[in-house]
């Protein structure tokens, strides 16, 4: 609400200082051109998935499927595509739930509790976040094989995702906004630690959990490198990984690949648009202190 008021105020002043109309038109034209450029790949995936082979190999560009066909999807489902879809949904949901539980507990402790070792722990978490995530994937694979014997299972993707400290950092940012008086009041009323957390803290950091949930879901879904290294057999492939593998095997069947790409990306785009508000809020919140 206040943001809106501020926006209005600024735009009035921007006019006062004299942004020329020419520049404004220029901005809008560039934005529209760039928008087309950014939306085109998505448009091409969806329309391509309905194009028959003749239209894909035609010498003249075919901008829209003239004789739409479901053949591409038919060929896709000759493979265990539902299993692949299930795998990626299972991985993303499990990582999301586990991350939200562990990170909100830890974030609350880091944000509101004054305990010995807090500063050191927080520094370690910040340093780990600057670490290139992909570098530890190969040693992780060795660990999963030799110590946990979880290689080539979905858990080999889920567990490392939960370990990544970004969630803890985000939930710390949200937890810090809880007024300390409320927590003290709960303690005076004789509420135990866990009860305080469930009845007082959780309702107050709900928007943060929403942001973290959607963030984890989208990022896990798209963490191609981790899936590539951890999942080897056809039955454990995720949909994005399977598309990549299919592309390697039959690189010229673009219709099939686009059908797969559509199936792998449309669900996640719908999830993103539905929860966009939480998502952008979470990104902004995570960056307040870099």
């Amino acid at each position: 609400m206040s943001a809106k008021a501020a926006t209005l105020k600024v735009s009035k002043h921007a006019d006062l200082t004299g942004t020329s109309t020419g520049y404004k038109v220029f901005v809008v034209i560039i934005l529209i051109l760039v928008t087309i450029f950014f939306l085109f790949p998505l448009y091409w995936i969806v329309t391509g998935s309905f194009k028959p082979i003749a239209e894909i190999t035609a010498r003249e560009p075919v901008w829209f499927p003239i004789n739409p066909t479901g053949d591409n999807y038919g060929r896709l489902f000759e493979n265990p595509a539902f299993l692949w879809l299930f795998n990626i949904v299972f991985i993303s949901v499990a990582a999301m739930v586990l991350t939200c539980i562990t990170a909100s507990l830890a974030g609350y402790a880091l944000g509101k509790k004054r305990f010995i070792g807090r500063a050191v722990l927080f520094t370690i978490i910040i340093c780990a976040m600057a670490l290139p995530k992909q570098v530890i994937v190969i040693p992780l694979n060795q660990e999963m094989t030799q110590i946990f014997h979880l290689n080539d299972t979905l858990w080999a993707v889920i567990l490392p995702t939960v370990g990544w400290p970004f969630g803890v950092f985000l939930m710390k940012q949200f937890s810090e906004t809880i007024p300390t008086e409320i927590l003290e009041a709960a303690r005076v009323d004789g509420a135990g630690e866990l009860r305080t957390f469930i009845t007082v803290v959780l309702p107050m950091i709900k928007p943060g959990i929403g942001a973290l949930a959607i963030f984890t879901f989208v990022n896990t879904w798209n963490d191609y490198f981790l899936q590539l290294v951890m999942l080897n057999s056809r039955d454990t492939w995720t949909l994005p990984l399977a598309i990549a593998k299919l592309q390697g095997e039959m690189s010229n069947d673009f219709g099939l690949i686009m059908a797969g790409a559509a199936l792998a990306s449309i669900p996640i785009i719908i999830v993103f648009i539905a929860f966009q508000k939480y998502f952008t809020q979470g990104i902004a919140m995570g960056a307040v202190k870099g």
Partner: protein, 312 residues
């Protein structure tokens, strides 16, 4: 574990009274115990899947180690992997390409997202979320889907690009001259989503009263930007620089799915060489050594950016 932590660190209390001062000893102990209980689940995951792999990475980089197994006494080679690395022409090529990607992508991503951010943050709520959404879409769509569709767009015979501009049969990804350029352009489209979201939020938070005061004093639009807005969004810029640098260094899916580092290593990057050494050459010790070097290079770049931003 939590009890131990409390017991071990109790003597330190006298030295560091900063944030526990004013609390009784019993309360401090109680708070510490409960805090570590809250932290426990997260710490278990963090230690098991981030800290331990880090040590494994450094440890294995000292061995001539392949998937077959490791014999600690026989396979120890000390720093040989690192020495080999600095003499490896493929690593040199990968290092140069990675630096080119970072040096081109990071400033353009930062500048362009700042421009888009300033252009849309004053808009009404709907167009603002619309544009923010559009630029975030390639990130959400996922690297695999984006890469396979670009591969089709750039395909020599079936791709729309050649059909459109009449360069029939030109292999964009097969020619050293254009392959890296294509990779950078696609990386750009998948990188600007998050910076734009950050800039829109940061610009919206700039204190309006300062802007108004500057305008009353007759500052031009450009002066307002450089003297008022730029310093207050500096932390965001720094954050954007660091995350874009880390992401550009780690650019992997694009390379693996489009060019596999080719043609003739023209798109070889450090990250792709890590994967290639581990799973194609089955040389895990060497792959881990490259990983360690990559982590150090990223740390140096981040440190430089912090330094430059601080002195500004």
């Amino acid at each position: 574990m939590d009890q131990n932590a409390a017991a071990v660190s109790k003597p330190k209390k006298a030295k560091k009274p900063s944030h526990t001062s004013g609390m009784s000893r019993a309360l401090v102990r109680r708070e510490t115990t409960s805090a570590y209980l809250f932290l426990l689940p997260s710490l278990v995951f963090f230690v098991a899947f981030v800290v331990i792999p880090m040590f494994i990475c450094v440890f294995y980089s000292l061995f001539d180690y392949s998937l077959g197994g490791l014999n600690i006494a026989e396979d120890f080679v000390g720093l040989d992997n690192y020495i080999q690395l600095f003499q490896d022409p493929i690593f040199h090529k990968g290092f140069i390409n990675t630096v080119i990607i970072v040096v081109v992508a990071v400033p353009t991503v930062t500048a362009f997202s700042l421009w888009v951010g300033s252009a849309i943050y004053r808009m009404k709520a709907f167009p603002r979320s619309f544009f923010r959404c559009v630029f975030y879409l390639p990130v959400v769509t996922g690297s695999v889907a984006i890469t396979v569709v670009w591969k089709w767009i750039l395909d020599p015979y079936n791709g729309i690009l050649n059909k459109l501009i009449g360069t029939d049969g030109y292999n964009w990804l097969g020619e050293g001259k254009t392959a890296l350029m294509c990779i950078i352009v696609i990386l750009f489209t998948t990188s600007i989503g998050q910076p734009i979201v950050l800039y829109v939020a940061a610009l919206g938070n700039v204190d309006n009263s300062i802007i108004e005061a500057a305008q009353v004093d007759g500052a031009t639009k450009l002066q307002v930007f450089w003297k008022v807005k730029w310093p207050s969004i500096m932390p965001t810029t720094l954050y954007v620089l660091v995350i874009t640098t880390i992401n550009s260094f780690q650019c992997f899916a694009l390379i693996q799915l489009m060019t596999r580092g080719g043609p003739m290593n023209a798109t070889m990057t450090i990250m792709y060489q890590v994967y290639y050494s581990a799973y194609t050459l089955n040389d895990l010790g060497y792959a881990n050594a490259i990983g360690v070097v990559l982590a150090i290079i990223i740390a140096i770049f981040s440190a430089i950016q912090f330094k430059v931003a601080k002195t500004d």
